[in-house]
């Protein structure tokens, strides 16, 4: 089963234990304005073919980190479900990652408007509130950097494209 993946600030979204998802109208404004920032009315996602690729997607996202973080959280939502509700376009040219293989997997969620932002917020909040098995994955940044280092050494990641923080950690000028 394919998914679309994106980084989120997990502290902004209901966790289903301390904060509950009642309706999209009651979500924190910060969650929407910080995690769902659009450019040209598009929202950036990465496609993975199945759950085994989740970690790779996380590494691909970490490769662009500009500032220090200990962990990041990524969310994976069903590609099929998103395709049925949103305009999706495969846009390899827009893929902002240092991991070469992942550039091809970039998708734009396009023609976003106020209503659709509410709709995608609903999908995300529903997932973060799920207290049993959910598709939120923690990526340890330190471990991811070790993997990125290997990818750079093997020529599978473009060191020029790395985020400032990753360059600093890998001592790349």
């Amino acid at each position: 089963m394919a998914y679309l993946v994106r980084k989120i600030n997990i502290n902004q979204w209901p966790d289903g234990e301390n904060s509950f998802f009642v309706s999209k109208e009651e979500l924190n404004a910060d969650a929407v304005t910080s995690d769902l920032r659009t450019t040209n009315n598009t929202l950036s996602w990465w496609r993975i073919d199945d759950e085994t690729e989740l970690e790779s997607a996380g590494i691909s996202i970490v490769s662009k980190l500009n500032s220090k973080q200990n962990n990041i959280r990524i969310i994976a939502l069903s590609f099929e479900e998103l395709e049925a509700n949103f305009c999706l376009k495969n846009t390899p040219n827009q893929g902002d990652t240092a991991v070469k293989e992942f550039k091809q997997r970039h998708y734009d969620m396009c023609n976003m408007n106020y209503g659709l932002l509410g709709k995608i917020s609903y999908f995300i909040a529903k997932e973060t509130s799920q207290t049993k098995k959910n598709m939120i994955l923690k990526i340890n940044v330190k471990a991811a950097i070790a993997k990125i280092k290997e990818l750079v050494e093997k020529g599978k990641a473009d060191k020029e494209m790395l985020g400032d923080y990753i360059k600093e950690q890998l001592k790349i000028n």
């Binding site: 997990i10 502290n11 966790d15 289903g16 234990e17 301390n18 904060s19 500032s67 220090k68 973080q69 200990n70 962990n71 959280r73 973060t128 207290t131 939120i136 923690k138």
Partner: protein, 204 residues
């Protein structure tokens, strides 16, 4: 005690970068209290004094003060003072300043003390800026006051402050009060998981 607003006009050349920063004014808040020493201003936990070209910086914690005759330090202190005096500053946008500072100096620990002083202004933006700043650095040495400060922020802060203080703690090599950390309950189960992972690592 006489209430007074001071306005200074300075042009400071930032060390290393050569960037000129115009400080239009160093303006204590209206609650500033004129200090008996004649030239100093005490405002909300921060004490800045120009006395025979010596700038003294004092923070709410005992023994946390910085006295310097270094020109570079003085300039930086003045920049800080001007920024902190202007509580309307957008610290989110001004993050680059903290980044600049963090890259500028090896002995930045002492400036952390200054930033702690800003907490006493009670401004959330400043608290967050401090937390963001702290979370970007790895400190080998955390003194008891500083550790306690961040712990209290984690224990008693709202979720926003808990998030930033947790990011700070996750950077620590050591923590003297692991038991207190165990008693913390974060209002987000994902962050709680991060905290518990950290505690497990430190215990193993």
């Amino acid at each position: 005690m006489i209430e007074e607003i001071a306005t200074l006009s300075l042009a400071v050349v930032m060390p290393l970068t050569g960037t000129t920063v115009d400080i239009k004014k160093v303006e204590p808040t209206p609650t500033a209290i004129y200090n008996d020493s004649g030239k100093g201003y005490e405002f909300e936990g921060i004490f800045l004094e120009d006395k025979e070209n010596i700038y003294t910086l004092m923070c709410p914690f005992e023994n946390n003060s910085l006295t310097t005759q270094s020109d570079d330090d003085k300039k930086l202190l003045m920049v800080f003072a001007s920024k902190l005096a202007d509580l309307t500053i957008d610290f989110d946008e001004d993050y680059s300043y903290f980044k600049f500072l963090s890259e500028l100096r090896d002995d930045e620990q002492k400036y952390i003390n200054f930033l702690y002083g800003a907490l006493y202004n009670g401004d959330l933006k400043i608290c967050n800026a401090i937390s963001i700043y702290l979370s970007q650095r790895s400190f080998k040495f955390i003194n008891a006051d500083e550790e306690n400060f961040v712990l209290q922020l984690l224990k008693n802060g709202d979720l926003g402050k808990q998030y930033f203080s947790l990011q700070t703690i996750l950077n620590w090599d050591n923590i003297s009060n692991l038991n207190e950390l165990k008693s913390v309950k974060i209002a987000n189960r994902y962050l709680q998981e991060d905290l518990e992972d950290f505690i497990s690592q430190k215990e193993s």
